[in-house]
């Protein structure tokens, strides 16, 4: 398709490899753990433009925590963090199976990205509000939201807190700082900024966090969020989870020629950091830095989490059609669970045996929750939300036309 001399040519970015090829991430520059310095939180954003093009990493290959970003978590917190990630992974496995068994219509897993939401959650204070996408259930797991309630939502059963109205995994919990997930990508991003503006308007201390995927940064809402965050210096953290893939499109389609997603922040004077999303310690350290900035009226921070979506996009997707099956094995940043496990082992706080035991315990907890949830029914069997529920909650007070319709429906 290349044109002749002097004529224009159309360029469409392509991933390095496609099914049939050999996975290759050798062109992804991975800085050594500990090599990126930690600036003071009140640094002039112009001084740290480089951070948008690097990767902040704490855990090195030997499982040691190194460099200026290390040391933000206690031993207990780390052990608990490991448990959160293991729980999320077990939860995913069970729910994937449940979907295949027809107990629900749809599911979306986190495999490979568990550190991002689990570690981030730790840096927040009660009352802070997340505006998540569908791939941050770690915020709920690490925040202590009951797994049974998550499952009830996934099953759309009679105990579903959302009364069967929402697609599975579209949780909502004000108490747990988890804004209602939208099926429409990126709409939550300017909403997060608005929430943060409101908090500033009320001289509150709570901050907001917006979450978006690499692919979804292309949506217009992304721009609105950055414009408003920049103009009003909103106390918000804008998180981009770059797991390398949208559905079938690799990150290059959304990113274009900019090198990184973090770089988007530079055009707005917003400090932009890039972090190893498979490094629980690094994610937490960066989150803490950004949270402190927001809390201290220093304004927004943009963070790109470099990670990899190991599983399918959703239960409706089969990635083998568009990427090599073994691509995830070649991913250079490893597995977040194994990396944290190795760190704890290296520090003498954990062992393979203890890990196996923990796996079993976690699985038991998840299974117990699942049993409990299934008592209330699954999508196509057992208890379910009522048809009456379907008519409720469109407005606070049901207007006459909906009352007429409910009557027509005979409920």
């Amino acid at each position: 398709m290349a044109g002749g001399d002097g004529v224009l040519k159309f360029h469409v970015p392509e991933p390095e490899v496609r099914p049939g090829g050999t996975p290759d991430f050798s062109n992804v520059p991975i800085p050594k753990a500990g090599s990126v310095p930690r600036p003071p939180v009140d640094v002039d954003p112009r001084q740290i433009r480089d951070l948008a093009y690097s990767i902040i990493r704490v855990l090195n290959r030997d499982g040691e925590a190194v460099g200026e970003w290390a040391g933000t978590l206690t031993d207990e917190e780390l052990a608990e963090g490991l448990k959160h990630m293991m729980t999320l992974r077990a939860f995913d496995t069970r729910m994937l199976t449940a979907q295949r068994q027809g107990k629900t219509s749809f599911y979306m897993q986190h495999m490979g990205e568990e550190a991002v939401s689990c570690a981030f959650r730790r840096a927040l204070a009660p009352g802070d509000m997340n505006f998540p996408t569908y791939r941050q259930a770690g915020l709920l797991i690490a925040g202590g939201y009951p797994m049974v309630d998550m499952m009830n939502q996934i099953y759309s059963n009679e105990a579903d807190p959302l009364k069967g109205r929402q697609l599975p995994v579209m949780y909502a919990s004000k108490e747990h700082g988890f804004f209602s997930i939208s099926g429409n990508l990126t709409t939550q991003f300017p909403q997060a900024v608005g929430w943060a503006m409101a908090s500033a308007i009320k001289n509150d201390t709570r901050i907001a966090v917006g979450w978006v995927g690499d692919g979804a940064t292309a949506e217009s809402d992304f721009h609105a969020a950055l414009v408003f965050a920049s103009t009003y210096r909103a106390p918000v953290i804008l998180n981009i989870v770059n797991n390398q893939w949208a559905i079938s499109t690799f990150q290059g389609i959304a990113r274009g020629g900019s090198g990184t997603f973090a770089a988007r922040g530079l055009g707005f004077g917003i400090p932009a950091l890039r972090v190893d999303g498979n490094d629980y310690l690094a994610v937490h350290a960066v989150a803490k830095w950004a949270v402190e900035r927001a809390r201290r009226n220093l304004g927004p921070t943009l963070v790109e989490y470099v990670t990899y979506r190991v599983g399918a996009h959703s239960t409706s997707d089969d990635p083998s059609a568009y990427r090599p099956k073994t691509e995830s094995d070649a991913w250079p940043l490893g597995d977040p669970v194994i990396r944290l496990k190795n760190h704890l082992i290296a520090r003498g706080l954990w062992s393979e045996e203890r890990h196996k035991q923990a796996e079993a315990e976690v699985l038991d907890t998840v299974i117990a929750a699942q049993k409990e949830a299934e008592k209330h029914g699954t999508l196509h069997s057992g208890g379910k939300p009522s048809t009456r529920d379907m008519f409720e909650g469109v407005y606070e007070t049901m207007p006459p036309h909906l009352r007429r319709q409910r009557q027509q429906a005979g409920v």
């Binding site: 009364k163 909502a172 414009v227 469109v394």
Partner: protein, 332 residues
């Protein structure tokens, strides 16, 4: 009507410091139609402020603020510019309560000047109300006079759900009846221009009968209320003119009672015909008053073209066209 709208915001901001007002040029300058003039001075920059030119951002931020607990009342500079915010309104504001089962709600008001008659061409004249009445979860309000504008806007700001508040800009200065070649009487000379001070409500979802009559029912809102009244006067027809005021939820009871009485119905709006709100009105009226109707329901509306600049008065459904429709229906 501008003062009435401003007063509604002023009163609401004074009573509830969760009420915030923002939009393009609404802060320091007080809005291109001056509806927010003085509010920033009175309540400070945290309560009334200018925004970047991003309707998406304005509504998106308002939704986040509402989820926090504020009551944002935002301005879209012209209704013609609401489309960039359409996704936030339809997919988010309208759905939030339902999809989260009330965990989060969205008490926002999106104000916007609507309608033509000011030689504004196709992007300063549109009447997009039907694009909102199709959206479950929204309320849609169109006032036709200063008293209503104030009472309805206060109710909208206090409403627990998102309200689209369309201000017929041709009515800002007086009850324009479509006779563009005559000077418009200022609101000061009109009964409904005498706006009470302080707080008062006009309930959403209630129509008002502006002219009682026995022969035909005219359903109208906004500017068309005056056009319809003028047409009835000029034709000497004993028509009942109903000002709908709220399109969603609709005061069907008042409409049905009237059409059952008159047996005839003419619907008037400035928006384009096809899939306009008049379609819904006609569908409801024929459904509920079928056995009382003596003639087909007529719709008099803007033509199905973009709003032209030079041919403004050929486009606008003025008293002559409404009068003809009234006559046809009377003869039908």
């Amino acid at each position: 009507m501008i003062e009435a709208i401003r007063s509604a915001m002023d009163v609401s901001m004074a009573r509830d410091d969760n009420v915030v007002v923002f939009g393009e040029d609404v802060g320091y300058f007080g809005g291109v139609f001056r509806c927010t003039q003085g509010l920033q001075q009175k309540y400070g920059k945290s309560r009334c402020f200018d925004t970047p030119i991003s309707e998406l951002g304005i509504v998106g931020a308002a939704i986040g603020m509402a989820a926090y607990g504020l009551r944002p009342c935002v301005e879209v500079q012209f209704a013609d510019y609401v489309y960039p915010a359409y996704d936030q309104i339809v997919s988010e504001a309208a759905r939030l309560r339902y999809r989260s089962n009330g965990e989060f709600t969205c008490p926002i008001v999106v104000r916007m000047p609507t309608g033509g008659g000011i030689f504004g061409g196709q992007t300063h004249s549109q009447s997009p109300e039907a694009l909102f009445t199709h959206v479950s979860g929204l309320k849609v309000v169109v006032p036709s006079n200063p008293v209503d504008a104030k009472g309805l806007l206060i109710s909208s700001i206090e409403d627990p759900d998102p309200v689209i508040f369309l201000e017929p800009k041709r009515l800002y200065n007086g009850p324009f009846d479509g006779h563009h070649d005559r000077p418009v009487t200022p609101w000061s000379k009109h009964e409904l221009g005498d706006v009470p001070d302080g707080h008062f409500n006009i309930a959403l979802g209630k129509a008002a009968i502006r002219r009682e009559g026995g022969d035909v029912t005219v359903l109208a809102y906004g500017t068309m209320v005056y056009v319809a009244q003028a047409a009835c006067e000029e034709k000497g027809i004993d028509a009942e003119v109903i000002d709908l005021r709220t399109l969603l939820p609709l005061d069907l009871e008042t409409i049905v009672a009237s059409v059952k009485k008159t047996g005839r119905c003419v619907i008037v709006h400035e928006a384009t015909l096809t899939s306009g709100f008049g379609a819904e009105l006609a569908a409801l009226v024929q459904e509920h008053c079928f056995y009382h109707l003596q003639a087909p329901i007529a719709r008099v509306t803007g033509w199905d073209t973009p709003y032209p600049h030079a041919q403004e008065w050929d486009y606008f459904p003025g008293p002559a066209r409404v009068g003809r429709a009234l006559q046809d229906v009377m003869e039908g």
